[in-house]
């Protein structure tokens, strides 16, 4: 018997979409543990997100403090560890975002908890499936520690639906000590497009796009489809596009309904990040590239000619509906 403490990220008074995938996994884990899901909201603005969070779990705990304005693993991990104890949780979870991946192992260490990282499936109370070897295999691991830490791969779980109206309580942050670490700044990539992790459609370009300017035609395709932009490591390393567009073992793991890989060769590193996509379209002028081995539809063509044609054809299709 034990509860599941789900650390959830929020923005502007709402849970982030990424948090909803973890709540689906957390509900499954809670069933196996005979307990309930307790959502933990930490930071400045946590209270404002609690009403939204309460729609997704029977209990929400808010730890609001000005001293926790900027996320730091050093200050957040002790709060998570303290709330695991306070809420009678046997499992602590978060989505494997850049915050979840940074925070949960540190909190696990404070709890002597073993961790299953980036899980794709809940098998039982203590066993979880997770991708290893860049997604070339799935390992089922048993975590035999009194408290278990879990991070959840967003693309492997549906977003949780609302479950009623839970209760909200507050807890004290305790003494906040950043151990000398400070947040300096975030150079944010502002975009009106959906988050790469949540997008239903992703348009990604690779080395063959040659320069950043050439990505404009892919962005036009993306905007036509309401898609997020992605890129291979070769394109981000070359500075053609921002680093946070990178899809792969390093970078984002995505599984949209539709993935366009344009002028991407398909290195193992890239395939690890996108081969869970439902439908994969590869456009490349070289028919021997490995990307065609995972593609549902392959078009051997130059992007210079085929992408503008693709935009025109999709516009025609949309107009005919």
């Amino acid at each position: 018997m034990g509860n599941v403490l789900a650390f959830c990220e929020y923005a502007d008074g709402q849970l982030r979409t990424s948090a909803l995938a973890n709540l689906t996994a957390s509900r499954e884990i809670a069933k196996h543990h005979g307990g309930e899901v307790v959502i933990l909201l930490v930071g400045k603005g946590a209270q404002a997100a609690s009403a939204h969070a309460a729609k997704f779990a029977p209990k929400v705990v808010v730890v609001e403090s000005d001293a926790l304005e900027h996320y730091l693993a050093e200050t957040y991990a002790p709060v998570v560890a303290a709330q695991v104890k306070a809420t009678g949780a046997t499992v602590v979870t978060a989505t494997a975002t850049s915050v979840g991946k940074d925070l949960i192992p540190r909190a696990a260490a404070l709890l002597d908890a073993g961790q299953a990282s980036d899980i794709s499936k809940v098998e039982s109370a203590t066993t979880f499936a997770r991708p290893i070897l860049a997604g070339n295999a799935y390992s089922t691991v048993a975590i035999n520690t009194p408290v278990i830490a879990v991070t959840v791969r967003q693309s492997e779980f549906e977003a949780a639906g609302e479950s009623g109206m839970g209760s909200v309580s507050t807890a004290d942050a305790g003494s906040v000590n950043a151990l000398g670490a400070t947040f300096v700044k975030l150079d944010a990539q502002k975009s009106d497009r959906p988050d790469l992790g949540d997008a239903k459609v992703v348009v990604a370009g690779g080395r063959g796009m040659k320069n950043g300017e050439n990505f404009k035609v892919l962005e036009e395709l993306a905007d036509l489809l309401g898609a997020a932009m992605g890129a291979s490591r070769a394109a981000t390393d070359a500075g053609m596009v921002p680093a946070d567009w990178q899809v792969g073992q390093t970078g984002k793991i995505v599984a949209p309904n539709l993935y366009f890989a344009v002028a991407i060769s398909g290195a193992i590193q890239h395939l690890a990040g996108m081969k869970g996509s439902k439908t994969i379209v590869a456009i490349n002028k070289n028919k021997d590239e490995p990307i065609f081995q995972v593609a549902d539809y392959g078009l051997v063509a130059d992007w210079e000619k085929s992408v503008p044609e693709l935009i025109a054809e999709i516009k025609k299709l949309k107009a005919s509906r």
Partner: protein, 273 residues
């Protein structure tokens, strides 16, 4: 400056994954230093050296926990330029991340490095947890997924550029912290130590390859062997791999002849448009 770099040897990720008796079949596998850990050695070297004239002002100690024959991969890191190594001999089935963290914590306490620098994850297990756990256990600050590092020696601080969802976060940490490195840490100007001239460019083609001179020198560098028992660690992991399976194969795809056919199939067959 003294830097401790934990490294793991991993099966070469370019090999085809084979399964035998519900586990990864590593018979005849070739092994490499985990790529991210190799980048950590490169990062540590860039922090203690003058990249322009090759002079060094610090010490790098490599630690690895693995079977007997992992000594070969440890020598590779010595050949790159690390000064000495500690090899804790254990079979992979005897250890898990909790054991690794326990051993690394004990080594940090006896070696007293200024920094621990390691890869953000091993490319076999992809767990991405040891650095954060070690920092938590030590009560040290952490800067994970480092893409850039700027060292301010006078004030004993590092400013780390971290690739996070939605941009790059800059975080400042004092010495006595744990840094885990990401791919772009090996870009030509990712590491600034206040000694290497700003005009200096590293190759940017990943970690440096050991030179012949480095390989010869590595043979004489100290490599100390330890056992799990030296750290009070039991060969009974709390994290147990039950089984491993290959992912279901994707249905075979098809080549399409032109763009109109592609759009038609995406709309009618895949129902994706």
């Amino acid at each position: 400056m003294k830097i401790l770099v934990p490294v793991k040897r991993v099966p070469d990720p370019t090999q085809k994954t084979k399964i035998k008796d519900n586990h990864i079949d590593l018979t005849g596998a070739s092994w490499i230093v985990n790529t991210f850990d190799e980048y950590a050695v490169e990062t540590a070297l860039r922090l203690i050296e003058n990249g322009a004239d090759g002079s060094k002002h610090g010490e790098i100690v490599v630690v690895s926990i693995g079977p007997d024959d992992a000594a070969k991969e440890i020598r590779t890191t010595l050949a790159m330029g690390a000064d000495r190594a500690i090899h804790v001999v254990a079979n992979d089935s005897e250890i898990d991340s909790l054991t690794v963290v326990k051993i690394l914590k004990a080594i940090v306490e006896s070696e007293k490095p200024d920094l621990v620098i390691m890869g953000k994850q091993a490319v076999d297990g992809d767990a991405n947890q040891v650095g954060q756990m070690l920092a938590g256990k030590l009560g040290w600050p952490q800067a994970t997924f480092a893409a850039t590092i700027e060292l301010d020696s006078a004030n004993k601080k590092l400013t780390v550029g971290r690739e996070v969802d939605g941009g790059v976060e800059y975080k400042q940490v004092p010495l006595n912290s744990v840094i885990t490195v990401d791919l772009r840490i090996v870009a030509p100007k990712s590491v600034k130590n206040g000694v290497t001239p700003d005009s200096h460019n590293y190759s940017g083609e990943g970690a440096r390859l050991p030179s012949l001179k480095g390989i010869m020198a590595a043979k004489k560098k100290p490599l100390e062997q330890k056992k799990l028992a030296d750290f009070g660690a039991e060969p009974k992991p709390a994290i147990e791999e039950k089984s491993v399976a290959l992912p279901p194969p994707r249905a075979a795809g098809q080549f399409v002849s032109d763009v109109p056919t592609l759009v038609k199939k995406l709309a009618d067959e895949a129902k994706a448009l």
